[in-house]
């Protein structure tokens, strides 16, 4: 049994949040650079160049890379040999979010769904916990902007629709989103599970580096084929019509019921922000 005080979790989440707000991931920056190099459309090339410059301005000035510093999504994978002591885990994480969004001069974007009154400190965070093996805690911090979150969808397909249906669902989600979610997008898809767990798989897929494929061959093939189909849509950067509509497609899967084939598609804009640490 390893004791970890939740104060250590608060400090780690605080540092991850500050870093995530001002940096896109290295795999995202690389994908944007290769998209720029192969882009022939003038407006798309201009937009891609602007975005690459923007990421540098943000990093150098320690400014939020996008003003939508998102809802704070935290995934805590907690080894079952860890004994947590101190304040409750959710309090530690929400404290970290409050402090980071204030100290980082990040936008507070969380509000009541009915009155729309802003909570003024960007809490509560969306916290997912998973119990895993071992005596470590893996913390993932993803600020999720809503221009892209709004364009996400969930399909309850018929089993007969199979792999073709899955690829159609992923492609159709990006097509219907069009220029609105700030393409080029990063697409996370959940395949299988139940209505709720499928959506989480889609979110979790977005925590993978762009270009890192699912180890299961059939799933990797879906990722590759869906990316091809999406980039043939010619939506392009910002919807200005060009070669790159998506930077990548990542899928996670789980067994499902004999009667169903859930597919959740979570859209992430080109500002892929995701920081991780193991304590």
């Amino acid at each position: 049994m390893r004791k970890i005080n939740t104060q250590a979790i608060e400090e780690t989440v605080y540092a991850l949040a500050l870093k995530a707000g001002v940096n896109i991931t290295p795999s995202c920056l690389n994908a944007m650079k290769s998209a720029y190099e192969k882009e022939t459309g003038e407006a798309c090339a201009f937009a891609l160049k602007t975005l690459i410059d923007n990421s540098e301005i943000a990093r150098n000035g320690q400014l939020p890379v996008c003003q939508d510093t998102g809802m704070a999504v935290v995934i805590a994978e907690i080894g079952q040999e860890v004994y947590l002591e101190g304040k409750p885990l959710s309090t530690a994480i929400n404290n970290a979010v409050k402090r980071a969004y204030s100290d980082g001069y990040f936008r507070k974007s969380v509000c009541d769904p009915i009155t729309r009154a802003n909570t003024a400190d960007n809490t509560p965070a969306v916290i997912h916990t998973e119990i895993t093996e071992g005596d470590r805690i893996k913390l993932t911090f993803m600020p999720k902007g809503f221009g892209s979150e709004n364009m996400s969808r969930l399909y309850m397909l018929k089993p007969a629709q199979g792999v073709e249906g899955i690829i159609d669902a992923i492609t159709q989600t990006v097509k219907l989103a069009g220029s609105r979610p700030c393409p080029p997008v990063y697409v996370g898809a959940g395949i299988g599970g139940t209505f709720d767990s499928c959506a989480f798989l889609a979110k979790k897929a977005l925590t993978r580096d762009i270009g890192e494929h699912n180890p299961r061959k059939e799933i990797e093939q879906i990722e590759r084929l869906a990316l091809e189909r999406i980039n043939a849509l010619n939506i392009g950067c910002q919807g200005f019509h060009g070669a790159t509509t998506a930077l990548g497609v990542s899928c996670e899967w789980a067994p499902t019921h004999i009667a169903g084939l859930p597919v959740a598609v979570n859209i992430q804009c080109h500002c892929v922000r995701c920081e991780k640490e193991i304590i």
Binding site: A43, F46, A47, T50, L51, D53, N54, S55, I57, A58, G61, L63, P64, V65, C66, Q67, D68, T69, Y105, F106, R107, K108, S109, R116, N118, A120, G147, N150, G178, S179, R180, P181, C182, Q238, G239, F240, H241, C269, H270, C271
Partner: protein, 172 residues
Amino acid sequence: MIKITLPLGKDCASGLKAGDSVLISGTILTARDCAHKRICAMLDKGEPLPFELKDAVIYYAGPCPAKPGRVSGSCGPTTSARMDSFAPRLLDCGLGAIIGKGEMSEEVGQALIRNRAVYFAGIGGAGALYADSIVSSECIAFPDLLSEAVYRLEVKDFPAVVATDCHGGSIY
């Protein structure tokens, strides 16, 4: 790259075509979801607005707070389609241009033609770069809405693309 100094003016608006790259300088007002709801509620009640709509330019944006020593925090455009239901009414009240990102509805396109106004697309996600083009920033209405309040921004060489022109042309 076409340099534009605001107010836009109807002749300048008529000369712009979808796809043109522009650098905008002058005064713009931020407003997004909640501010639009309030503006339209005030118009419904016949109350005076806290700013002039005629020839104004509304920027669909909600900035980050400014760090000490800086004029503005990151301030890129938000998705325009969420303002589809408000935009025609404001254009009919004399709004000269909109700045946002992503396609807008056919009704907005018709209102642009009818009022000889222009919809510019900023580069969505370039918040830090846009902060550098803001020369001054002042909250002029609805401060309780925090980042959704109305800010009057002076911008210099703000990069954008003509998304929908006043002749029915669209980049999307």
